[in-house]
């Protein structure tokens, strides 16, 4: 598809918590199938921007669009609720701390939303759970509880849970930051496969190597603005902005020291 209009369109996003301005007029267009990484120091507003896309942290200014639908529409409470629940079904999100439902098995975690929201029967939902688990390589864990899984397995289940809703876009907020180093790769692999399947993804990450190998475009954020953006080859190997260079140098030093 050579669709010219952006799939996800963030226009002049502005966000303040009280007097603290966290996002300062950020615009970001993501095309269908595009994979965008957002990097930057802690506190720069990466999560806030990501969470604005499904209105989990509503913006104080600007607009978010998914295809031809405005996500953060101003509507009366009840209408807004109905609207946002529909929109969120189309936007998958993966959290740093997995947020699996501990009282449900892996099967329950994956089937809950499709059954409630898409009216799938128990059999249909089961089949869906089996498919999704096969994708993330955890078919044999379907009847386990989250507490019986490793961190990497939990995150793979969380990804399967999000994918079971057949979202148009996937948002990842430091999906591997809470994992022991040896468990990072299995999650990265799942994300790489999604990339190969042309899932539209916006990925907040501290893993520059991963971002470089998977993403089409990288945004460097600092203090609520996009300081620099471009293809990974430029951002990682030939950054134009001083702040980007400083960040990458410091990041490299921290990770080697």
């Amino acid at each position: 598809m050579t669709d010219q209009s952006p799939f996800v369109d963030i226009r002049h996003a502005q966000k303040s918590f009280g007097t603290l301005e966290v996002l300062k007029d950020i615009s970001l267009q993501v095309q269908q199938g595009e994979i965008v990484a957002i990097i930057g120091p802690s506190g720069s507003g990466k999560s806030t921007l990501l969470r604005a896309i499904n209105d989990l942290d509503p913006l104080t200014g600007g607009e978010v669009w998914l295809e031809d639908m405005q996500v953060n529409k101003a509507l009366p409470h009840r209408q807004y609720e109905a609207h946002i629940n529909k929109v969120r079904q189309q936007i998958g999100m993966v959290f740093q701390h997995f947020n699996l439902f501990p009282h449900l098995t892996v099967r329950g975690n994956i089937t809950l939303a499709p059954r409630m929201l898409k009216g799938l029967s128990a059999e249909e939902a089961d089949k869906l759970a089996e498919e999704q688990l096969a994708h993330v390589g955890l078919s044999d864990r379907i009847d386990y509880y989250p507490s019986q899984l490793s961190g990497g397995q939990k995150q793979r289940v969380a990804i399967a849970r999000a994918l079971a809703m057949q979202p148009k876009v996937m948002l990842f907020d430091e999906a591997t930051s809470a994992l022991d180093p040896e468990l990072v790769e299995e999650v990265n692999l799942v994300m790489k496969r999604l990339a190969e399947a042309h899932m539209t993804m916006i990925i907040v990450t501290h893993e520059m190597g991963f971002a470089e190998s998977v993403c089409d475009r990288v945004l460097f954020m600092d203090e609520g603005v996009v300081v620099e953006e471009g293809p990974p080859s430029v951002i990682f190997h030939n950054p134009q902005n001083e702040r980007t260079r400083n960040f990458l140098r410091k990041h490299l030093a921290d990770n080697n020291g």
Binding site: L56, N85, R88, L117, S147, Q148, M165
Partner: protein, 215 residues
């Protein structure tokens, strides 16, 4: 110690224990109802309800339960509320413990990790759906033990209704002291029966907690 007297008189105490048990059960039920409504009010998105819930909790917790019982039982008729002693006991104690249960339930609900709500909402669930299918099942598990503490307090609190002459364990002890002049034996009998009731209840709650506990 007069064992012979105790053996002779204990059947009357068993009857009284049954009254205490009935009081405890009905009070627990009413308390859970008040607690559920109270917690719902405290967590409502409407300010008036939040205020009402908070007022209920602070009034009840800010005054002695005995005064609440007296107002209801002795003061009630003045404003047209006619209750017998047992009814007044159940309602007074139930509304009282309900305020504590309000805080217990609210505490359990808000202590469910906020990431749970976020994950549910992100999948597209409504606030109500997220609450019912994700938050509440976890909160219920978290509240069993602290509700057990409330119920333990409630059972001991039933002794207060002796003051409005409900013939339960404490009142019965006092009554037989009048004719036997053996306060030690009489209160001991009551105390032992309270302990049995509390012990069994505690075991039940621990079992329930164990049964539904998240691994």
């Amino acid at each position: 110690m007069d064992f012979e007297l105790m053996l002779r008189i204990y059947p009357f105490f068993l009857e009284a224990a049954w009254v205490t048990i009935q009081l405890s059960i009905l009070t627990t039920i009413l308390g859970l109802i008040c607690g559920t409504l109270g917690a719902a009010a405290r967590l409502s998105r409407f300010a008036t309800l939040r205020f009402t819930g908070a007022a209920y909790v602070s009034i009840i917790r800010g005054t002695p339960a005995l005064i609440q019982l007296f107002i209801l039982y002795f003061g009630g008729p003045q404003v047209g509320i006619q209750l017998d002693a047992f009814e007044a006991g159940v309602i007074g104690l139930g509304v009282n413990i309900g305020a504590y249960m309000t805080e217990t339930m609210r505490g359990a609900i808000i202590s469910v990790d906020k990431g749970q709500r976020e994950a549910a909402r992100t999948l597209g669930m409504s606030q109500f759906q997220a609450f019912r299918r994700v938050i509440l099942p976890q909160a219920l598990r978290l509240m069993i033990r602290p509700l057990g503490v409330n119920i333990n307090a409630l059972i001991k609190g039933t002794a207060l209704v002796a003051a409005i002459s409900v013939v339960e364990l404490t009142y019965t002890a006092q009554r037989y002291i009048g004719s036997t002049y053996k306060p030690f034996e009489m209160f001991l009998l009551s105390g032992v029966l309270y302990m049995v009731i509390i012990y069994v209840t505690g075991k039940g709650i621990a079992y329930l907690d164990q049964k539904v506990r998240l691994q």
